[in-house]
């Protein structure tokens, strides 16, 4: 093998390149859409929960909840008295949380990396808190309590931490 040919040859192995190349024109991947939509759903579920506390659930919805529990008992309703908050504070806090979640959901759909990191940190804290109270305190996580919220948190984290979502959020970054 002559030396003069050597520079033109390359070793027969794959380069250790990242599996997704930075591409400013890449299409929005399904994982990003799922993450954004789930955050919006989480905002909606918070609003519905707040409305249920303020105005009470309609009887048919409570019947379905009882059926889903498997024993056909109508679950007790939460009311503002249980929380011990004045209605203005309750609506105010809930409204701010709702707005923040909607803004972050839209930012995620646009592909903001800062929004992605912040949402992942918040979900992680929320999941760790739930896990500690489940493992240490023995808090029950069921459909009737916090399973749906927890599931949304975990699904958001899974979607946003995927390679596709990361590549989309970093699509405009310069390569170092």
């Amino acid at each position: 093998m002559s030396v003069s040919r050597a520079p033109r040859k390359r070793a027969a192995f794959e380069p250790l390149a990242p599996p997704t190349e930075r591409n400013p024109r890449m299409r929005r991947p399904a994982a990003t859409v799922a993450g954004g939509v789930l955050v919006l759903l989480r905002a909606l579920s918070g609003a519905v929960w707040g409305a249920a506390v303020l105005f009470g659930l309609p009887p048919w919805l409570r019947a379905i909840a009882g059926f889903a529990n498997g024993d056909n008992t109508i679950p007790a309703e939460e009311t503002l008295d249980d929380l011990g908050l004045p209605p203005e504070v309750f609506v105010g806090v809930l409204g701010v949380v709702f707005l923040v979640q909607v803004v972050f959901g839209i930012l995620l759909l646009w592909g903001s990396n800062a929004a992605r990191i912040i949402v992942m940190i918040v979900s992680t804290i929320s999941i760790v808190t739930a896990f500690v109270s489940w493992w240490q305190v023995g808090a029950e996580i069921t459909v009737a309590t916090t399973l749906v919220t927890l599931a949304l948190d975990i699904l958001v984290l899974l979607a946003l931490s995927s390679r596709d979502a990361a590549a989309f959020a970093r699509r405009n970054e310069k390569r170092d």
Binding site: A12, L147, S161, D176
Partner: protein, 288 residues
């Protein structure tokens, strides 16, 4: 300058942490939904389906992705890889020529280009499989070689339904890339026969099961193309005899290891008349 580089790496460290943490959290969620499924009566059936969905489409792919990035080396070993990093269909064809020449040869040999995977095409392949309707341009799942998804994908439907089909994916090789052993080729391809729809052994996802004897499909592709004028075939014997195993869906694969090299450089493209002189097969291993 240094600050920018530092922030870049912290961001990627965070990404790695969340990637693994989300996988662990998803295992916990799957456990919670499984225990709930036995406690909530009829709604438990829905929870059990949710458990399978979680496991098959989120938990296991994430676990495979984490583990394979640790223990599957990322160099060419005659196998494609799935989006989860598992070893996929075997590479069993090589091509010399340009993209347009391959497209012309495949069209002339009766192959149909697959639609890109998207919401619409995915929905259509599901409905047409269930209703046993024809969908000749059905999408093929992404497989990866050189860290890239396939560049071209072709198929031939069998019995008027996307459940069974011939299909082949093509990847362009990086510039100056050599096959193990030193031959130079422009494209690599992986052809397998989808024989039925089933569950993947590794991820439990709904997927196509492939025919174990991948040589039949390879020879079918080669035979269909040798009928096209301007296509020549050369074979590297026993190229991949060491790589019998399973593909990414857990289906067994066997092969005699031969790697046919299809030379399509003899196909003329009307608008690019300058590249008219096809090199002889003897030149294939030498630099061009």
């Amino acid at each position: 300058m240094t600050r920018r580089r530092r922030r870049w790496s912290i961001g990627h460290l965070l990404d790695g942490f969340f990637f693994v943490f989300a996988g662990l959290a998803a295992i916990w969620l799957a456990y919670l939904s499984l225990t709930q499924a036995f406690q909530v009566g009829w709604a438990g059936v829905l929870l059990a389906i949710a458990f399978w969905g979680l496991l098959a489409y989120l938990v296991l792919p994430r676990l495979h992705r984490i583990l394979t990035s640790i223990y599957v080396p990322d160099y060419f070993m005659g196998r494609t890889r799935t989006s989860d990093g598992l070893l996929g269909d075997p590479v069993n064809l090589a091509v010399l020529g340009e993209r347009e020449q391959i497209e012309r040869a495949m069209a002339a040999a009766g192959w149909i280009a697959a639609d890109p995977v998207g919401w619409g095409s995915s929905w259509r392949i599901i409905t047409s499989t269930l209703r046993r309707r024809s969908y000749p341009r059905a999408p093929v799942s992404p497989l990866f070689l050189f860290g890239r998804m396939q560049d071209l994908a072709y198929q031939q439907e069998v019995a008027g339904s996307p459940a069974q089909r011939h299909h082949v994916r093509f990847w362009q090789c990086p510039d100056g890339w050599l096959l193990p052993g030193g031959r130079r080729v422009d494209w690599l391809a992986a052809g397998t026969f989808d024989r039925a729809v089933g569950l993947s052994l590794f991820t439990l996802q709904v997927t196509h099961r492939i025919d174990a004897d991948t040589d039949i499909e390879r020879d079918h592709i080669v035979e269909s193309l040798t009928g096209v004028s301007g296509v020549r075939v050369d074979v590297i014997r026993d190229f991949a005899t060491g790589y019998h195993s399973r593909n990414g869906g857990g289906d067994s694969i066997t092969t005699d290891g031969d790697l046919p090299i299809l030379d399509v450089r003899g196909i003329r493209i009307p608008d690019a008349e300058e590249q008219t002189s096809p090199a002889s097969p003897a030149d294939a291993g030498v630099e061009r």
